[in-house]
Each structure stands twice: as structure tokens, then as C-alpha cells.
Amino acid sequence: MLRKAAVIFLILIVASGCQNPFQRDKYQVIYSMEKDNASKKQNNKHNYTIGIVPKLKGIPYFNAVEDGAREAAKELGVNVLYEGPQTADSDQQVKVIQDLIDKRVDVIAVSANDPQKLLPILITAKQQGIRVITWDSDTLAGGREFFINMVEPEMLGRHMMDTLAWNTDEKGEFAIMTGAPSASNLNEWIKWIKIQQQQYYPLMKLAEIAPTDDDSQKAYEVAKQLLKAHPHLAGIIGNSSVGPPAAAKAVKDTGKAGKVKVVGLSSPNVMRSYLHEGSAQIVTLWSPKKLGYLTVVLAENLLDGIPPHDGQEIDNVGNIRVNGDIVIMGEPLDFTKENVDQYDF
């Protein structure tokens, strides 16, 4: 009895002996906050494939977008398929998208030539479990989850009207060279160009809106015809990237450089020489590389379950704005002969 009690006593001492000098573990955990560290990042190791569809392939603007998309693909470790039609045609674009659906990509990001014609194929893609977003040019809202816009369309349209007005002393006739007549972004900007002109520049007059289908050759012909048809033309706004270089070249070739002012949307590399010569005065654009980069980043985020949010900081891009289901990349850049050398796209 007595010995039993002694044994129990000893056991108690030993069992309670965390401070017992006989057993000193080097480390003894008292409290742990370790969470389950199976982080989400490990799920990303899926090899995502992102299909990016420009309005067409081969023009400098969309080539620069491709560069940006490839840069992002390399950094994020995803596959990017950059596939577009040969001309800015929505039927061809549908075929390209069908190809991407067959390749079972995870996301299709489209710059739409027509807001309506792409809807059926995009809905088909959605039904196959493919996420759809748009960039550069939007479709109807039912066709995609969100739209990556480069700039506010109102701001851009009004700004293009302003850049022309600064150079023509706020008077005279002008023409607009647009891309595909159905492209929603181009038409949105034209709408705001007209509003700005009506509000602030009563002495100016819109003579013609000429579509070029984003074909450089056709654009040059269109520009020459415009100059011929409207001898008193004070300026040309090219609201797609093919417009301003074609207009500048036509102005230069017809000896009207400096007399007919050329402004619009185009990239610095294409416009550098025209700007320096004075064939074109101001072109406006954002960085298409940045747009391509941002599109891939947002597509990848979407697959990871992170939708874009207002003020979000994107590495290597900066902060983005979100308004409803539209993402705004930032402010446009104006290129003049003074600063065009700073840019390389």
C-alpha cells in the first residue's frame, strides 16, 4: 500500500515535470498560430492557356499588344495563344474564336470587331466552361464577364477633338477616319468627338466619316480621296491606329503637310517621322504593350478567382480603375515631336 502510493507519487512528479531537469526538450511549443499553409498559389500550377484575339493581326498596334501579352505570359508562367483574323472582320474573328474553343483554352480575351456578331460564339464558349473577357473593343455585356478599356471613351473622344481644335484655331472642316464601321469602341469615340465639337467648337464642321477597315493600303486611298473631295479640309482625325499614318502620308504626298492637320490614335514608332516632319501634329495613345500585359494578368487573376477591383495595383502596370464591369487601364499619352522619342512601341 505504502509502496504503491510512493510509486504513484513518483509518476505524478515525473508526469508533471515539464520543468523537471531530467527531461528538457530543446524547444517546446506552447502556442501555435500556424495556419494551414496549403496556399492558393499551389493551385495556380495548372498550366493555364489564355487565348487572346485582336481585331486583326499584323498592324503595329496589335503587334505591340502581343509583345505585352507575351511578356506577361513569361512572367506569370501561363500559355498565351495570340490569334487574330487577317482583316478586321467579325466573321473571320468568329472562326478564330471557334479554333480557340476547340483547343480548350481557359480564357478567351477578345477585341471585338462587332459587338453583336460575336455574341453567339462567345456564349458557346461560355457554355463550354471557358471564361470570356473583352479588351480594346467591347461586345454586348452578355457576351463577356468584363471589358478592359484603355481609357474612358468620353475623355478620349473629347480629347481627340481638342487636339485637332488646338491645331486648327478651332475652325474649319474636318474628317474622321475610322476602322471597321461596326467596331463599338471606335463608334463610341466618334460619338464623343461629335458632342465635344458641338459643345465647344461651333466654327468647326465634321465633313465625313470614312471607314478604313484597319487596312493600311485602303486607309491611304481613303485619305487621298478625302483630301480631294474636301479641298478646304482643315484636319483629319484618325480614331484607329491605321488612320493617322495613312492620313499623314497622304498629306505629305499631296504637298499639304502643315496645311491639313493630322491627329488621332496611333503609336509613336509609326508616327515618329511624320511628327518630326510636321505631317502630323499630335497623336494620342496608351501603351498597347501595357494593354496586352494587363489583359493577361487580369485573365490569370480571373482563373484564380480574383476579379478586378477599383484601385487594384497590378505589378508592372500600376493602379487600375473599375467602373461596373469595365476596367479602365489609365490615362492616354499624347505624342508630339518633342516627346515621341521617349516611346518605343
Binding site: L2, I30, G68
Partner: protein
């Protein structure tokens, strides 16, 4: 041998006092010390657990504050993008002449001075920007050891960090500010987002004071050490500034990076709390020696131990005293018992307490007394019995009686009365046999009556008409018992006194069963009446008194009566015995009372 010793050590073989002391100590010392030990242990454990749970949360909060401030600092390079002029300069990579370069440097330096040094963050010590072989800088204090030729990285342009921020510790660069102000550097590449190119690398040196301020606000304890290190153990910040930049080798051995643990790695045990911050790959550590945590508890523990020792000493003394007090009378009792065992009953255990031991002593005393009494009584009865028998024998072989009887027989022989001779010899023989043969104390009343009848018959033959007797048993005397020789001494007295003073005596013996007032039971009553001279009243009272008295004077011939009484009283109690009744000149009646003893009661 060892087994034997073990056997001797067995608890049940201990002395009672040792048992009591050991039991008492087991019952008090062990539970008390166990309780004290467990409560101290639990208490220190709970202090550790509380701090262990609280510290990581505090670290989390402090770390979040630091991270917040760090984020502000890390975002500082973004301010460059606010100025298109600065971006234009950074995009430029060749110059027409030196003055253009100096002009650009002036523009950038003053922009950085106005943006960073005079900006919202007072902890920025200096800003450095390396871009395409140009070095821009703006600092609050004079510095040395930092320039294009002493870059911390081979070339600011070549490395591709994908725009990520790096933290550089002072010992990784040669940069020194006046006064050796402790700092860390944030290194960030400046991206040209539009051209998708790298324009340069910015370095921002930040005073460590902001971490100090955050941590000091939380932790004012000097004894604790707080530090921040990266995952490889390199210390970015330490409450002991000398340790900044050194490497904590233990980090790989830490069992967890989020929580608290006790570390016994060094000489003194420490409570270490750690929290990991993923954003900058930091680990925030708080380490405090356990002895500071348990300082107060240890004081309480020491006081408790002291109190415990004092208490144990006092209670041990009390328990020993008490054990001895309990066992001493028992020891005394056992000694006395041994004494009694040896036959000495003249003992008295002098314990007057009212507890169990006192009761035991009283019982022992009364037991010894009773034993003594019983022994004495039996002894006494035995002696009386023997004396009575001797007396009876004496009276039977009384030479006088024998002589007279034998003379009577002789005369009868002379006269030729053969029948009478035969009768007398027969009677005498039977009397002698009765006296000698039967050893038991009790005989049937029949036998006793037969003996008296024989005696009386002999006397009647001797004295012829002078002696007459009648025996009248009114009950069945064959089955009832009586002590031996109770009737003969009384009859002898009656004859002796009757014949002394009178011509003849008439003796009447009746035997009856009556209810006895003294005993409250049925008893047998012998009545022996004679018509002798009687006894004077005063003599009668004296005799009755003498009979009841304890004194016993052997050898007095007139005291056969008292002998009978004494024997009966001894055997059956004071309710029984002999009673004398006499009317002087008329006669005497002797009443003998004995209990009813049937054969089955023997």
C-alpha cells in the same frame, strides 16, 4: 539477509507510534507538497501559456503596423511617376553635352528632395536613383560609400526582379550616414510601364526609428529582446542595435514560425514568440527569459516553501507528541498486563482520561479487580468447604461421640442385645461412609436426611427416651440437592444444649419448598425445631449478627451453625443461609434456606 531486513522494514511490523507518525506525515506532507508543487507548476504554466498566446497576437499587430509603414515606404518610388518630366529624363539615355546631364541631375535631385525628404515620411534618410549610368541622390544627412562604382548589385539594369521590392541591410552596402544612424534600404526597380522597360533602380534609406517607435510603444520591458529577421535568419532590426545585420543561427531550429515556444537552447530558458509575415518574408521575434516571467511566482513559491517547512515542522512535532501521548498509556497497560500475567493482581492503571484509552484502563482495572475477587472468593469457598468437611469429619470421629457410641455398643453386647448392636454398627458405618466417600459438595436431600436420621437414631439408642425426633419431608427429596453436612451440626447443637439442661429433647425436622422473599424465587426450607432451653434474646441477636459477619473463627466448637451459614452463603449468595429463632425457655427453631437445585442443574 536482505529479505529479513525488508521484512523488518515492513510497515505492519513498525511500532504503533512510528505507524502513527508515518501515516500522519504521509497524509499531510505528501498531499501538501504535491498540491503546492502542482499549483505552482500550473500557475507558471498558465502564465507562460497566456503570454505565449498573447505575444504572437501582439507581434501580429505590431508587425502589421510595421508592414503598413513599410508599404508606405515601399510605395514611395511610385511618386516618381507623378512627374512626366522626371520620367522623360529617366527615359533619356544619351546627352549632347555635360550641362544637359547636370541639368537633368539637378531636376531629378530637387524633385526627389521635395517629394521624399520634405514629404510625409520623416524616416526617409535619403533617396538614390541609378539610371543608365547616372546617379541621382538626395539625402538628409551626409553620407559616404555609395555611388555608381559601389553598387550593391552588379548593375541596376541587368537584374530582372520583375519590379519586386528588395530590402538591403546596412552590412550589405558600404553606405554610411553621419552618426552611423541605423537604417535599412528599400531597393526597387523603376519600370517604364508604357515602354515595358526598366528605367533604373531606386534606393530609399529608411531610419529604423519607426520600427523602434512601434515596438517600444508595445513593449517597454527591457529584459525582453525583440527583433525582425528574414527567413535566413539575418537580423534587420534588433532592440540591441549591435545585432542588426548579424545572423540568428537558431532560426532553422525553431519548431514554429507562428506562435510561441520555450527554448532551452541557451543556459537560461526563454519564452520565444514568433510571427511570420509573408509580404516581406519577415519573422518578428520576441524573446524573454522565463525567470523574469515567473519572478513573482517564484517569490510566492519560495514563501510557500518556507511556510510549508515551518508548518511541517510544527505539525510533525505535534504528531510525534500526540502519537507518543496515545501510545504511552497503551505501553503502560501492556507492561501491567505482563505483571498480571505473572499472577499479581494488586495493580492499578492510573489513567483517568475520558477517552477510549481511559475506558480501556477503567475496564482493565475493573477486570483485574473482578478476577482478583473471583479468585479470592473461590479460594475462600474452597477453604470453608474443606473446613466444613473437616469439621463434619471431626464431629463424626469426635472421640466423645465415638466413645459413647462404642460404649453403648459394648453394653449392648454384654446384655446380649445382638439386634441393637448390629443396628448401631450399621448406622455408624453408614455415617462414616457418607462422610468419607462422597467428594462432591452437593448431595441429594435424601442422603443428607438419611445421615441426620442415622445420627439421631444412634443418639436415641444411647439416650433412650431422652431424645426423640421426627423428620417430615413435605417434598420429593430424592431429586433435590443440598450442600453436605448442613443438618448434622444443628442437630448436634440441639441435642447438646437440650440434654445439658433438660431431661429430654424433642427434635422436629421439616423440609419444604416455599417462596422466598429474599431471593424472589422458590427455595427449599429446612426447619429444625427443638424444645430445648432456647436462647436469650440478646444472645440470639448476637448469634444472628455473628453469622452474617465475615469473620470466621475456626475451631470454635459452638460455631457449627456459623460454618453452615457461611458455606451456604458462599455457595448461593447472601439471600440464603441460616436463620435462628428462639423463645427463651421454650425452644429454638433453626431455618436453613437453599435454592431449589434439581438434578438437571448440576
Amino acid at each position: 539477509m536482505i529479505f529479513k531486513m525488508l521484512k523488518r522494514l515492513r510497515f505492519r511490523n513498525y511500532r504503533l507510534s512510528s505507524k502513527l507518525i508515518v501515516t500522519y506525515i504521509i497524509l499531510t506532507v505528501i498531499p501538501m507538497s504535491l498540491m503546492g508543487y502542482i499549483s505552482y507548476w500550473q500557475y507558471t504554466k498558465s502564465i507562460q501559456e497566456q503570454l505565449g498566446e498573447y505575444m504572437p497576437r501582439f507581434l501580429e499587430q505590431a508587425g502589421a503596423n510595421i508592414e503598413k509603414q513599410m508599404n508606405e515606404i515601399v510605395n514611395l518610388p511610385e511618386l516618381l511617376y507623378n512627374s512626366n518630366d522626371i520620367i522623360a529624363i529617366l527615359r533619356r539615355d544619351h546627352y549632347q553635352n555635360q550641362s544637359d546631364l547636370l541639368k537633368d541631375q539637378f531636376v531629378v535631385n530637387s524633385y526627389m528632395a521635395s517629394t521624399y525628404l520634405n514629404g510625409s515620411n520623416p524616416n526617409v534618410l535619403g533617396v538614390f536613383l541609378i539610371s543608365k549610368n547616372r546617379f541621382f541622390h538626395s539625402t538628409r544627412l551626409n553620407f559616404s560609400g555609395f555611388g555608381l562604382d559601389t553598387l550593391p548589385v552588379p548593375s541596376g539594369n541587368d537584374l530582372d526582379w520583375q519590379g519586386k521590392t528588395k530590402i538591403i541591410l546596412p552590412n550589405e552596402v558600404h553606405l554610411k550616414f553621419d552618426g552611423n544612424v541605423p537604417y535599412i534600404m528599400i531597393m526597387k526597380q523603376i519600370q517604364d510601364f508604357d515602354n515595358r522597360k526598366n528605367m533604373g533602380t531606386m534606393f530609399i534609406a529608411v531610419r529604423l526609428k519607426f520600427i523602434d517607435e512601434i515596438l517600444r510603444n508595445f513593449e517597454k520591458e527591457d529584459k525582453a529582446a525583440l527583433w525582425i529577421m528574414n527567413k535566413t535568419g539575418k537580423i534587420l532590426y534588433h532592440t540591441d542595435n549591435n545585432k542588426i545585420g548579424s545572423i540568428d543561427q537558431e532560426i532553422n531550429q525553431y519548431p514554429i514560425l507562428n506562435g510561441s515556444f520555450r527554448s532551452n537552447a541557451t543556459d537560461e530558458s526563454r519564452l520565444v514568440s514568433v510571427k511570420e509575415f509573408s509580404q516581406y518574408q519577415w519573422v518578428l521575434v520576441h524573446s524573454i527569459p522565463l525567470k523574469y516571467l515567473t519572478e513573482r511566482t517564484d517569490l510566492v513559491r519560495n514563501i510557500t516553501i518556507l511556510m510549508f517547512l515551518i508548518f511541517i515542522t510544527i505539525t510533525s512535532i505535534i504528531s510525534i507528541f500526540f502519537a507518543l501521548k496515545v501510545t504511552r498509556p497503551i505501553k503502560k497497560l501492556s507492561g501491567l498486563m505482563k505483571y498480571v500475567e505473572m499472577g499479581n493482581f494488586q495493580v492499578d492503571l492510573k489513567i483517568r482520561s475520558r477517552d477510549e484509552v481511559g475506558m480501556l484502563a477503567r475496564s482493565f482495572n475493573s477486570m483485574v479487580a473482578t478476577t482478583r475477587e473471583l479468585i479470592e472468593k473461590n479460594y475462600y469457598i474452597e477453604i470453608k468447604q474443606k473446613e466444613a468437611e473437616l469439621y463434619a469429619l471431626q464431629s463424626q470421629i469426635n472421640p466423645h461421640f465415638m466413645y459413647n457410641t462404642l460404649e453403648t455398643i459394648g453394653m449392648a453386647v454384654e446384655e446380649g442385645e445382638t439386634g441393637l448392636v448390629v443396628e448401631m454398627v450399621t448406622l455408624l458405618g453408614r455415617m462414616l461412609r457418607f462422610s468419607l466417600s462422597n467428594k462432591s459438595k452437593l448431595v441429594t436431600i435424601d442422603e443428607e436426611v438419611q445421615h441426620v436420621r442415622d445420627y439421631l437414631t444412634i443418639q436415641k439408642i444411647r439416650f433412650e427416651d431422652r431424645v426423640n425426633f421426627m423428620i417430615d419431608p413435605k417434598i420429593d427429596i430424592h431429586l433435590l440437592y443440598t450442600p453436605k453436612f448442613i443438618l448434622q451440626p444443628i442437630v448436634e447443637n440441639a441435642i447438646k444444649h437440650g440434654l445439658e439442661l433438660r431431661k429430654g429433647v424433642h427434635i422436629q425436622i421439616s423440609i419444604n419448598q416455599e417462596f422466598g422473599a429474599g431471593s424472589g424465587k422458590q427455595e427449599i426450607v429446612f426447619r429444625i425445631r427443638d424444645d430445648g432451653p432456647g436462647i436469650p434474646a440478646d444472645k440470639l441477636a448476637e448469634l444472628n449478627d455473628l453469622m452474617r459477619s465475615e469473620a470466621f473463627v475456626a475451631g470454635d466448637s459452638g460455631l457449627g451453625l456459623r460454618n453452615v451459614h457461611a458455606r451456604i452463603a458462599l455457595m448461593f449468595g447472601a439471600d440464603f443461609g441460616v436463620q435462628l429463632d428462639s423463645l427463651y425457655g421454650k425452644g429454638t427453631e433453626v431455618i436453613i434456606r437453599i435454592p431449589v437445585y434439581g438434578g438437571e442443574q448440576l
